[in-house]
Amino acid sequence: MMMNDMAQEAVAAGGGRKIGEVILDLQNISLRFGGVKALTDISFDVRKHEIRAIIGPNGAGKSSMLNVINGVYHPQEGRIVFHGEERKEMEPYMAASQGIARTFQNIALFKGMSVLDNIMTGRHMKMNAGLLSHMLYFGRAQKEEIEHRKKVEEVIDFLEIQSIRKTPVGRLPYGLQKRVELARALAADPDLLLLDEPMAGMNVEEKQDMCRFILDVNDQFGTTIVLIEHDMGVVMDISDRVVVLDYGKKIGDGTPDEVKSNPEVIAAYLGTSH
């Protein structure tokens, strides 16, 4: 219940967040790998400024859903409308340039680089200096490097990872790596942030920290968040609306309370007697 308090605190601190219009609309999405149906006819939308959770048992197609949203997978059927524009052929870098950032279920940091460099890559989209300028490290390249370093340091301060900024990420413990990954995503100033199990494998304290960060990001930066999480306590506490998937199909959609009382959802999670 502590998290519930925190959520309410955050809402209070933000002076009551405004959930806005639909920014991402997924209509009748179907995705197949050969003969395997990963997603079947799934529709839901995400509104500006909300925290939208996707839940479901293992193998329900949650990660595939995120991969569809940011262009890693290409669904065979369905429409995706982001910021009012229907999406055509989409590659991940295009999604990034439209303001979609994400973290991964299995940490996907750049292991050979320091924390600082990892987060700096998150800002590369906003840096325009060319190769020759980089070779000389003079003029625009240097100016940009310093300008963006300032932004990155803000993110570092925000996520409280100042002390590890020069550490190679490979040496960090799991929980901190997750935080660095969030930092890298945040550095891109995303409109829409996709979090794939941000709290998996964490202990209670780390989970609480992560919850706080997610709520703060949502609140202070106005970032819309779609997250996948298995910890029901967390999901029910921090999300505004929840989508439930099972075997690649949508079986529930609504506020946490609605979803909790949905018989199909209960059946999927607890099993039913046939």
């Binding site: 790998f33 990660s63 991969n67 890693v72 991964f104 279920q105």
Partner: protein, 308 residues
Amino acid sequence: MTFFLEVLIGGLLSGVLYALVALGFVLIFKASGVFNFAQGAMVFFAALTFVGFTEVLPGWTGLEPGSGGVFWLAFALALASMIVLGIATEKVVLRPLVNQPPITLFMATIGLTFFVEGLAQAIWGANARGLSLGISDEPVMWILDDFDIIISKFDLIAAGIALVLFVVLALLFQYTRVGRALRAVADDHQAALSVGIPLKHIWAIVWGVAGFVALIAGLIWGSRNGVQFALTFTALKALPVLILGGFTSVPGAIIGGLIIGASEKLAEIYIGPFVGGGIESWFPYVLAMFFLLVRPEGLFGEKHIDRV
């Protein structure tokens, strides 16, 4: 038309030999995930060791030079050397590098290539030598008479030996306990280990078998082109074969070998004259490169889906 067939068949037969070298790669790659660049050097080492023994054995044992006794004794000694080399490689080079990224292992096998080449020549000397298996390189008469096509008896027998080897290995892997264990290891090291398959044993066996395959390939190649340093380059031709066939597929290695062998000979004859000849040196690689653009996983490789 006859000429075309001759070129084609000649190419296919030499393709069998490429496949033989490629088979050594595939065995090791399947079992231990190592792309063994040194396979070519091992072929060279095997051939040179065999020839070396046939030269010194008469002096040591008093056997008649060129007699069957010398041949089989040299064969046995060379095989023993190859198995020792294979097992030593596994123990000294690869075991300490377990869990390193595949690229590191690959580079280690490039180092191994140099080491094995140096070792072979340091022991047996660097001069080129002939190797005779007692099979004459003459046209098979009845084919010449009936179909008017020249096919070398040597090539045919060599292909036959290769074929027998493929079949024996296939049966071995399909129907024996060791074979089953090996396939399990190829699929998943951890899982194989957890059901009690002795991983180190299996690896030693695979390296030993790869040494045996290298010896056969070395003998055939060596008696065709002489035992010399260039043998290691011939073995490089097995790489495009692997790309075509996929790194993990034995049938792929065979079919890839046939395609490479046939296409490079045909290209040399029919395209070569327009560009000045000698295109055999690069044609297989360029072919493989274009092939990769169309089908990155090879003919028989598994399609890889990135999971994130």
